[in-house]
């Protein structure tokens, strides 16, 4: 074979390889997007708790000092802030794995490309948690595994070429990690949102009742209750939006796992511009989280 022909064949192969990895790039970018969407859930549980505490403080008899109420709420809800930081590590591990897949794919993601950054260092963060009662050990192992796989894909030149085996080896760990994220989001965080919303809606009802001004002369004295309704309604709307985002995240998380299986099953069948149906569905579900979040 002439040198020129060899170069042409290699060039064709490289082009083919890059095309073959497009679904992997899109999957990775969408999975990273899901991890980014999850992050506020982890941070917001403590915030939502503080919000509830402050609504309760506003309604309690006795003296009221807003700054003191804020400090008291922060102290009461501190355990949830700490728990949220711990829960965030699952998302970091997923984000790192997803980012590494995009890099290893050799293709540019067609979606959510701007979201992609470097690794967060989840592997190191999780390593320090290992062996402590912070998480159930099997889940730490799973999140650590995909975070370590991400680090390896980034740094070890010998596995820069993504193989079906890389995906297959990490599938079970990915499922466990995503399942832990779902448990946190739709069972624990949603519970806090609901508890907070219960107090806020009760207070809004009372504000509406207190706003009644039978005569024109009574309107002035009722204005504080009338103005306060707007803030309470905005708080409730933000709370409900977060709950909807959790539901969208839940669907995307299921689609993520299905798409990862699809990549493994069809690794050597995809080529050219052909797209994987389950990856496309997953990308659409990931997009749905963003669409609703834009309303925040």
């Amino acid at each position: 074979m002439s040198k020129r022909l060899l170069i042409a064949v290699l060039a064709a192969c490289l082009g083919g390889c890059a095309a073959q990895m497009q679904p992997v790039a899109d999957f990775g970018a969408a999975a990273n997007h899901v991890a980014i969407a999850y992050h506020p859930f982890a941070a917001d549980m403590g915030v939502s708790c503080e919000q509830r505490e402050r609504y309760v403080a506003l309604a309690n008899p006795g003296p009221f000092d807003d700054a003191a109420a804020e400090r008291a709420a922060a102290a009461t809800c501190a355990p949830l802030k700490e728990a949220g930081a711990t829960a965030a590590l699952f998302g970091q591990a997923l984000g790192d794995y997803a980012t590494a897949l995009v890099k290893a794919s050799g293709a540019k993601a067609a979606v959510f490309d701007a979201d992609l950054k470097g690794l967060s260092g989840a592997a190191a963060a999780l390593a320090t948690k290992d062996g402590t009662p912070i998480f159930d050990s099997s889940k730490v192992s799973a999140a650590s595994k995909i975070a370590r796989a991400a680090a390896a894909l980034f740094t070890e030149a010998k596995i820069q070429v993504l193989t079906r085996q890389t995906l297959a080896d990490n599938h079970d760990a990915l499922v466990v990690t995503v399942d832990a994220m779902k448990t946190y989001a739709d069972r624990i965080y949603t519970g806090q949102l609901t508890t907070t919303r219960g107090v806020m809606t009760g207070e809004l009802d009372r504000l509406v009742r207190a706003s009644t001004a039978p005569t024109q002369s009574e309107v002035e004295s009722r204005l504080p209750w009338r103005y306060a309704q707007a803030a309470a309604r905005a708080d409730i709307a933000a709370n409900e939006l977060q709950a909807r985002r959790v539901r969208a995240f839940d669907k995307a998380a299921d689609a993520l796992v299905a798409a990862h299986s699809d990549l493994i099953a069809n690794f050597d069948k995809i080529g050219g511009a052909r797209r994987l149906e389950l990856v496309s569905e997953f990308v659409a579900q990931a997009q749905a989280i963003s669409d609703d979040a834009a309303a925040l």
């Binding site: 009461t76 728990a83 009372r206």
Partner: protein, 146 residues
């Protein structure tokens, strides 16, 4: 026709030890019930500021708030300590309390029940099966008395 292996597998599945995720969900369920009960007491205080038992309602409400926070934090940490059969009992009791609160409007019953939920939450946080079962009995007694 199921094989012996199928039957054995089904039996094993039915008696399997709850996973850490089950434990987390049970704790989250109980936190929801504690939070819901606290909100009902808060609304009672707000709507009946002159009632003779508002002080008791406030104390219970604050205790339930702290317990709900601790239960959610614990759920995230996924304790992993299996509470075995007590876990199913705990889930069942939490559901019964929630059903009761949905139907019952009298505050007396709610206050008695709220006290038993405080006890159940404390036992669940400790994670001791014996303690949970005792607390579950107290919840059932409170449900009957309310």
């Amino acid at each position: 026709m199921p094989t012996a292996a199928d039957i054995a597998a089904a039996a094993l599945a039915a008696t399997s030890v709850p996973t850490a995720a089950d434990t987390a969900e049970a704790l989250a369920d109980l936190a929801d019930v504690a939070g819901h009960t606290s909100t009902l007491l808060f609304n009672y205080r707000r709507d009946h500021p002159d009632a003779p038992d508002v002080e008791q309602a406030l104390n219970l409400e604050q205790t339930l708030d702290v317990r709900a926070i601790a239960l959610r934090a614990q759920a995230v940490k996924l304790l992993g300590s299996d509470v075995g059969l007590a876990l199913a009992q705990l889930k069942d009791a939490a559901q019964k309390v929630d059903d009761f609160l949905a139907a019952e409007q009298k505050i007396e019953g709610r206050l008695v029940l709220a006290s038993s939920v405080v006890g159940l939450a404390g036992a669940a946080l400790v994670g001791d099966a014996g303690g949970i079962l005792s607390a579950v009995v107290a919840v059932h007694a409170a449900l009957k008395a309310a």
